[in-house]
């Protein structure tokens, strides 16, 4: 199968399945090497970026999914209802952001950061399919570990948890240092 046809086949696959399709599955369907297929998908993604295309291909941790470009939301919403996303309260968002950045994380650890209990919030997030159980921590009581789902990536427009905006746990110190610097600068100018 030549490159052009392979890309056309990838387009056909992503379109007809609608949901996210894992790279390994696409590779098997094309009977081609995974790395080659990955580079083809990337080429296709770039081509979709062109102005004359209304669709885009998003990446969700080693899987790909086709969807419309945000720019055409206004046209689409006139004739099609967008399935309602769950409205997340502040509590849910806070809990979710802690899970997203610190996963895998236990409930106790989340509670330590938030200073309040969060069993209800975690359950709700699991119910909304934004958070899932990842197994159990090898520690006394074998507490459950939580992490984010693919639906989380899709709902928040993130390719992978590694690509979450800015701050990562190890950046807290950096953040602190920065704040201190600003503080000193302010003190110097007498604020």
């Amino acid at each position: 199968m030549n490159k052009t046809k392979a890309k056309a086949a990838i387009e056909a696959i992503l379109f007809s399945f609608g949901e996210s399709v894992e790279l390994t599955k696409i590779a098997a369907a094309l009977e081609m090497n995974k790395d080659v297929v990955e580079s083809l998908v990337r080429e296709l993604m770039d081509e979709y970026e062109a102005e004359n295309r209304g669709l885009q291909i998003i990446e969700l941790e080693q899987a790909y999914q086709m969807c419309t470009k945000r720019a055409y939301y206004d046209n689409l919403i006139k004739i099609k209802e967008q399935p309602r996303k769950h409205v997340l309260t502040d509590v849910l968002l806070e809990t979710l952001s802690i899970i997203a950045y610190k996963q895998p994380i236990t409930r106790v650890e989340i509670e330590k950061i938030r200073g309040v209990s969060c069993g209800h919030a975690v359950n709700k997030l699991v119910e909304y399919n934004l958070v899932q159980e990842l197994g159990r921590l090898d520690a006394p009581g074998r507490p459950l570990l939580f992490g984010t789902t693919e639906e989380f990536l899709r709902s928040f427009g993130v390719n992978s948890v590694d690509e979450l905006p800015v701050l990562k746990p190890d950046q807290i110190d950096e953040f602190k240092a920065q704040a201190e610097q600003e503080l000193n600068a302010m003190e110097q100018v007498g604020i």
Partner: protein, 248 residues
């Protein structure tokens, strides 16, 4: 200070503290602990008391604040390197981390609003693809199963069927309630294990004419396994289970 903000609107004690720090325009690294504690307690006084769960979380923080306040009055503790320990440092650390996640949660909210503008679609496989039945790979399905094994399975099943028909009870005219005590069965089993050393699971179950007794026998075996008094082995699926004594 005005108390026009209700406690309900705070996510928790850390949230309230951040609000107070912000409101007083003080530096998070140099919290005027007396002032903040005083204001914090004022809020707490205004709090509706009906939800004890929420209340208790706020109270824990209140004690932490009072504890810090007390420590601030004492001469500072010193680390091995001779640095003074700020009693506020743990709280500051916690506040900063919390603040960071709170900030991130706003960022996530924005992203969710944007991402909701992408439309996805459901599966729409062509009919020919949808109706396609995956052919079964017989070689893979049958695997290493063969006629001899199949016959073994059949035999063991016929045997089980015979065993299900209780030969003793069938000759009785009436049904008697059977009292089965776990302790008694354990004792009997222990003796059996001691006297037999090696015996079959089926053999031992055949003597149990009631479900309750079977369950108790089974539990006794599990218990002995747990205690390390016996070991069990089974060569293949459907084979009999062999129980061996580990007792001296």
């Amino acid at each position: 200070m005005e108390l026009n903000v209700k406690l309900d609107s705070f996510e928790g004690p850390l949230d309230l503290l951040l609000h107070l720090i912000d409101k007083n325009k003080v530096n998070i690294y140099d919290i005027p602990i007396s002032l903040i504690t005083e204001q914090y307690l004022e809020y707490l006084g205004e709090m509706k008391r009906h939800d004890l769960n929420i209340m208790s979380e706020f109270l824990v923080m209140a004690t932490t604040l009072l504890d810090i306040k007390a420590k601030m009055l004492l001469p500072a503790e010193v680390t091995e390197e001779g640095e003074e320990i700020d009693p506020r440092s743990d709280l500051v650390q916690q506040l900063i981390e919390y603040k960071m996640y709170k900030y991130m949660s706003y960022e996530l909210r924005d992203r969710q609003i944007d991402a909701a503008k992408n439309f996805f679609k459901g599966k729409s496989l062509p009919k020919e693809v949808e109706e396609y039945q995956v052919p079964v790979d017989m070689a893979e399905l049958v695997g290493d199963m063969n006629l001899v094994k199949l016959q073994e399975i059949f035999k063991s099943m016929m045997k089980r069927q015979v065993e299900r028909i209780d030969p003793v009870r069938a000759s009785f005219g009436k049904i008697e309630k059977e009292e089965v005590s776990m302790e008694e069965e354990m004792e009997k089993m222990e003796q059996y294990v001691l006297s037999h050393k090696k015996f079959s699971f089926r053999e031992i179950l055949a003597g149990s004419h009631s479900k309750v007794k079977m369950i108790v026998v089974f539990l006794a075996i599990l218990e002995f396994m747990k205690m390390g008094k016996i070991t069990i082995t089974q060569e293949h699926t459907f084979d009999d289970i062999i129980i061996e004594s580990c007792m001296e």
